[in-house]
Amino acid sequence: MTDLTRDIIRGKTRAIARGISLVENNTAGREELIDALFPHTGRARIWGITGPPGAGKSTLADLLISSERKKGHRVAVVAVDPSSPFTGGALLGDRLRMQSHAEDDGVFIRSMASRGHLGGVSGATLDAIKVLDAAGFDTIIVETIGVGQTEVDIIELTDIVLLVLVPGMGDEIQAMKAGVMEIGDIFVINKSDKEGAEKLRTEVEYVLGFKYTGEKEKMNPVCMVSAKMNKGIEHLTGEMDERFRQLEEAGELRQKRKERIRKELLRIFSLKIHELLDKKMDFYNNVGEWAEMIYNKDVKPYHFINERLRFFLKKESE
């Protein structure tokens, strides 16, 4: 076991932080680190918080941290913000709303830039969660970037997803119906003191009603919260505990986590195949030249790639 692995498992701050950087930068040793930590994962409860920009995700996360700390749980947060597609830079400001916990030993907050990944999180978020899980945090909260309609990766990373909505979005609920509206385990209507909150709740319940026609008891909870005024949090955490209990009882949690691993294996597999074939075909170095040939109509795109692959496979089997 390396020093880094050992110190992460012991919960040492700098080691945890370095471990996350290592997976984030895809530095040498990433795979070994994740494999070494893997046997120590699976204990933490993983919550996702998603919703449109300005819905109050960070403020809600801040209150959930407090609530967890009162129960004596150690909490880690991964807060994702977008990277600029032009400069690659990012301004990571989510923890601004959580700084009241900055001096608490039982809280670890890490900001991550999306680095070109499009699903609302970053490509390394899943591995960052593993590092935090192995480090012994009881609860891991993942906050996505402000989402629109289709950034639904969070469902593949976490055990339960809170979808945070705010009044004043009007018809946007309709527009969201097909994407992020489908991934919430619990719907949180934040800024419940504002005008239109009740109307929004009715709309959300109406949309959910379609999904669960005839089985109303299965309908996802809709919680009214005012994060700023610290209202409705206890009710929300109660619903979250209940949801967890249901998931565990029905064996769904196990199913969800297995599904997560299945997807991860698929991802690793295609990445490895990609790397392997690139190495064998020297794809990236040649692709410019090949594009030129195709532009000049010397060859056809599918035919050309199929030929290259056939050539490689034949060479391998000889």
Partner: protein, 135 residues
């Protein structure tokens, strides 16, 4: 593909609430392609150092306009050393009299940028330390 992004914490210790400068620098550095973490005003040295450790930053940029820089900047550098993180590069900015700068540098503040400094100067400073951070 391995890519090493430099991460910079922009923090405001002390009691003054004037964060325009800090926010300007944070945004400008973002536009230069860095990942910038901003924590808001009135942070204690302890919370700044803990944030720097958790975020695994390469640099900590401190902004202060209250006049307490001679106490707070060295305290932060000292806390980083105590936490085995002396490798994190600390720089400062704000209303800081010229005559205080040698003292701050002696205490481990690697550069001090006073009002009116073009952002390029800060970028040049960061880039000149890139190799040091890659070791």
């Amino acid at each position: 593909m391995s890519e090493r992004k430099l991460r910079i914490l922009i923090a405001k210790p002390g009691l003054d609430g004037h964060d325009r400068g800090a926010k300007y620098v944070a945004r400008a550095l973002k536009d230069e392609g860095y990942e910038v973490i901003y924590t808001g005003i009135r942070q204690t040295p302890e919370s700044i150092v803990r944030t720097a450790l958790q975020e695994d930053v390469d640099f900590v940029g401190l902004s202060l306009l209250s006049g307490a820089h001679n106490e707070l900047f060295p305290r932060i550098a000292e806390l980083l050393r105590e936490n085995d993180a002396a490798d994190i590069i600390v720089f400062g900015g704000g209303v800081i009299p010229e005559e205080d700068i040698p003292f701050l540098k002696e205490k481990g503040i690697r550069a001090v940028f006073t009002p009116g400094t073009p952002i390029q100067e800060i970028v040049d400073f960061i880039e000149s330390k890139r190799d040091e951070r890659h070791q």
